[in-house]
Structures are given as C-alpha cells and as structure tokens.
Symmetry: C2
Subunit: 361 residues, 2 copies
C-alpha cells in the first residue's frame, strides 16, 4: 500500500496511481485529523470522495504518529494527550475518539487504537503495554460496533456524495457502478503488539484473535530493532494468526523485505520508503539502488532501469532525471515517485504470480 498521508500520495495525481495499478492506499488519521479535520472530510462525503479516489483506502489509528511526530505525549489508561506538530495545540486521542475519527473518514479498512511499544523495552514494560493495547482493542471494537452505521457512505460510497454536489466528478462516472452499500460498513482490524518477546507476541496474537476481527495487523516492528529480529518476530507471530483472514505487517519495508514477508504469508504491507526515498533521489531498480543525484549520471543517456516498463523509464534518461534532481525541479519528485511506486507494485505482482504458481504445483 502506497502511503498517502494527507489524502495524497505525495506528488502523484490519482489517475497516475490508477494507471500504476494501485489497488489500495493508506491515509494517516493523525494528519487528516489535524488537517483538514475529520468533520470537514466527513462533510465532503468521506476520504474517497474528498481525494477523488474510488479504490480501497486503509486508515491507521493515529497511534503511531502520535508517538513519533507529536510533542509532550502523555499516555494514560484512558488515552493519549499530545500536542500537534503543526501548531502545538493540545489534543486527546482515546480508542473511542480514534474510532470516531476513522468512521468519519470512511476508509474501507480501519485500525484499532494501539500503543506502539518503544524499542528497547524491558519485560515488565512490554507486558503492561501489550495488556493496555488489548484493553484498547476491546474498547475500539465496542465503539465501532455501536457506531459503524455512521460511516459517511450513504446508500453508496459515491452516490451519497455526488448527490450533495451539482457536479458529478469524473471517477463517479467512469468507474463501474458500485454495488448497493446499504448495511455495509468498514472492516476494523486488530493489532498485535508484544515488543520483541516471542511469548508475549503469541499471547497478544491469541487474545486479539479471541476478541475477533476480520483482519489482523502486526504492529510495533521496524522501530529500530535489527532486521533479523523483525523477521523472527514476524515469523513466530504469523503462526498464531488465522490464515483465512488478511494479515497485515505495518510499516515494512524494503523491496527485498516485502518479497520475503509476502512469501512467509503476510498479505498486506505499507511503507513510506518508496515515496520518501524517491523524494530524496534514491531509486529502486532491477540493478540495485540508484542515487540519481550522483554526477556519474550527468551524461548517461540510458533509462533509469532498462528492465522497467514504467512511464519514466520508457521516456526519460538518467541524465535528465539527474538534471531535474540537481536543479531541484518539482518534476524530479513526480517522476522519481512514479518509478519507485511502479517498482514496488511490480515486486508485489511478481510475488503474487509466484505464489499462484506454487499453489498450482
């Protein structure tokens, strides 16, 4: 899932995301809550309508960003008080308010409010944090069950909004008619925590499954631990998550990692790496990483990746991409992001094809 933090995958228009084959993208509840605000997005018909994106969206719970981006965070059993990274204003997130926010945004998949345990953390702290995440999961589910009919989809995810508007926007016309959405609602996923302790991970997984969700995420990884440890924890946690439900590994990873984890049974991943690296001139290719700012590419007339079929590699040279980056041109960020997203999506398409081939044999 490409990350579209503030209702945009940075620098890439939605029609290009469609052409790239993006099926689902991620929005950050923390950012959207602060700007433009939940009520504004709800009033405009929800996130799909607001950003003119008819395909699937997942929103995170906001918990991770509260811990990583905001200042003066104070956690209690009730929830988390924090200051906005934009203007310093004080806000309070609880499992209930995080659900309320995500229902207002109206993504297809929403996430339980959890505490992302810091790394490293001792055994006592890790258990206490895991136990609170389990209590918050129950509160998240209870609130969601009581309010899931408040999702701003109306009869249809799209028609409810277009009826508010004089002008029917393009995607509502072009896309296949949506099935009647009456009675349908979002899918709330639970999140497994437990730090780097395999036994706590097992317990967290089993007890989260006992609460019962239509999908499960593994959170609290990629927080600074060695990659080998990440792999071990993912492997041991997956064992306790049902295979017939989506299993989502949060915040991972490199192209090699997403192939590895998909092979181990992970169904969904998200990471800012392809888009953020692109904006810093770091490009993923079939021949390895390319740092396009390097002077060695200044006269290189070849494509970025000779094996790549993306519109950037089909049209532009390394010399041109290097020039755009060196000249700090906006087009550098557009083209670099398009290429990296294509590389990631191709990686996943290849993994899916391999899995299908294996299951046929």
């Amino acid at each position: 899932m490409p990350v579209g933090t503030a209702a945009t995958v940075k620098a890439v228009p939605q029609d290009v995301l469609e052409e790239l084959g993006v099926e689902i993208l991620l929005g950050n509840t923390y950012h959207l809550y602060l700007r433009p605000g939940i009520e504004q997005v709800r009033g405009l018909g929800g996130l799909h309508r607001f950003m003119a994106w008819p395909r699937a969206i997942l929103t995170d719970s906001g918990g991770f960003q509260v811990f990583s981006l905001s200042a003066l965070t104070k956690v209690t059993e009730e929830g988390v008080r924090f200051r906005s990274h934009l203007d310093g204003a004080s806000h309070f997130f609880t499992p209930e308010s995080a659900m309320q926010a995500q229902i207002g945004l109206g993504a297809d998949i929403i996430m339980a409010f959890d505490e992302c345990t810091e790394y490293p953390a001792d055994a006592v702290r890790t258990r206490a944090s895991m136990e609170m995440t389990l209590r918050w999961a129950e509160r998240s589910k209870a609130y969601f069950e009581g309010h899931k009919n408040e999702v701003p989809w109306g009869g249809s995810q799209l028609s409810a909004v277009s009826s508010q508007q004089k002008h029917v926007l393009r995607f509502a016309q072009d896309d296949k008619p949506q099935q009647d959405m009456a009675g349908k609602t979002q899918a709330l996923f639970g999140i497994v925590q437990g730090g780097m302790d395999r036994e706590l991970r097992r317990e967290s997984a089993l007890r989260t499954v006992e609460i019962g969700f239509p999908g499960y995420a593994i959170g609290g990884l990629s927080v600074g631990e060695p990659r080998e440890l990440t792999r071990e924890i993912v492997e041991s946690t997956l064992e306790y998550l049902p295979k017939d439900k989506p299993r989502y590994l949060m915040g991972v990873g490199t192209p090699e990692e997403i192939a590895l984890y998909a092979g181990m049974g992970v169904d969904m991943m998200d990471c800012v790496l392809p888009t953020r690296a692109a904006r810093h001139g770091l490009l993923f290719t079939s021949e390895g990483r390319v740092s396009i700012k390097q002077a060695r590419y200044a006269e290189d007339a070849g494509p970025l990746d000779p094996a790549c079929s993306c519109l950037v590699c089909q049209r532009y040279s390394r010399a041109y991409l290097r020039h755009l980056y060196a000249a700090n041109e906006l087009l550098a960020q557009v083209l670099n992001t398009v290429h990296n997203l294509h590389f990631y999506l191709e990686t996943m398409r290849r993994v899916r094809a391999e899995i299908q081939n294996m299951s046929r044999e």
Copy 2:
C-alpha cells in the same frame, strides 16, 4: 508557449503536456547554459532528446535573464559579462556565443541576442540600446549562417540520438516518423527593441526586417510600463512587421492580454504567468481569478471551474485543491499548473477559432 525554463515546465510531466495540447514550449538559454550546460545537452542529442519532448521548442537568447537574474552585469559593444545567480561564477555572453549556445541546444526556433532596454530610459539611451541590438542582430545572423549546420539533429532530430542509445525511448516510437531533417536547420528570429518610443520602434522594426529573418519578435515590453502603453507600442510596431512571417510578442501576458494581442495580429507569445501563478495558488477560471488558499473554499465540493474540461476540474473539488495548497503538498503544484495551462491553451484555441470564423465571413 508554456515556459519550460530548465528543460521542464515546472511540475508537469511531458505526457501531460502532450495531452494538454502543448504544441511548442520555451526553454531559457541562460538557465540551460548554467545547468546542465550546453555541451552536456548537445552531447545528449539536443534539448528535444534531453527532455524527451518531440514537439517544437523555442529558446530565448539568454539576454533577458542575464539582465534580470544575474548580478554585476557589465554591457559592452562586445557582449555582456555577468555572474551566475547559482554560484557567482563569471560568464560572458556575446551574440556569437549566444548563437553557439542555442545551436547546441538545437531548438526549432532560436532568438537573436538583444539588449532588453530598461524602463524608463531616456531618448539617447533608448536609441543607443536599439542601435546596439541592431548590430547584435547582424552579428547573430552572421554567426548563425556560418554555423547552422552544427545543430545536433543528425539526419533526424530524433534518430541521431536514438542510435546513440541501446534503448529507443517511447516518444521516438509513438510519434509519427519525422521527415528527413538532412539539410534542415533552426529558424533564427530577430527582435525589435526601441523602448516606449513609437518612432524608434518603427525604425527598429524596419531595419530588423531589412537584415532579414524568418520571424520577428517584439522585445522590451512588460518591463514595468503601464499596460495601455504596452498595447500602443505593440500596435504601432506590428504595422511594420511582415504579416506573412510569425510575429512573436515576448513575455506577455494575462489571459485577457493574449486574446487581445492575438486579435491584433500577434502569432506567438510566452509567459511564466500561468505556471508561476499556479504555484502560488492563483488560478484562472471562466468565472475569474481564484486564490485557492482562501478558507472560503475549505468546504466547497464543486470543481474549480464548472466550465472547464481539464482533468483537474473533472476530478477534484475546490476543497481538495485548497487542502493540498494549505498542507503544502506537491500535488497542489502539479494540479494547479495543469489547470492554468489548460486555461491558457483553451484561450488560444478559442481565439484561433474566432479568427478562422472571421476570415470565413
């Protein structure tokens, strides 16, 4: 002509420019000379190949930017010494070196090296500046005639380059086969100066025509003078420029102005206004200017311009565009620029249709 200063119309990929119907764009010799450098562009097959743009390109002479962007400019009969706005390095432009640079870039239309007379300027200064521009026009033409076969087009503007590369880039495949370019070369346009003095403008026009060029530009306007004065000078200058050659008004203007001047007989114009204004959130619409940053658009679900058929107005709401701008998102600059370019190109398409209708009646 949209302005593509550094071999890119800021924020807009070339395939989108094609979809918008851009037939010709402008590159700035001053910028390209400093970065990435003429020899690099020439070595990569010229500007068309470098920026993967198969349609027409015009480059300016660099003179205007030398005066407006660089520091410590010193003008002599020989040429202009200036310091780069990028790193302060000292450079020297002459009519000959400006031609050499533009031949190396290989645009379809190139411009004589002129001095853009400052505003205001007294009669003595204006005449002296005009006389020097005339001498520079002769030197520009003489150098061009002696070196026009050095344009990096090879047998074909495109094939010369693709033969240097293993990979045939997309536009070389998609576009119609170019006619054999052997023996063909660039068109060098002369530039009329003469400040705000109608008599000097007449003299400059007549003497520039006497030197003889395949097209003529009116320079030295939009330099701070009142708009009514611009109109008067354009009108009186056009009278002395041949109707069967392209007449190009440099650096103009607003949507109203380009319609006005096209109606008066101007064939070509360029201006940074649509692209630069877009990046500052100022959008041109059929209902007038819209400053999209204003809070009044925060909950406006309608399109930017209900009468506009561009991909931005067909898909996104004012509320979304306002959010992107307020959140300083890159996509704001992409979408705003696409819309403003569409508005300008539509304005010119309408003017052309009106002229065709009038000539039929």
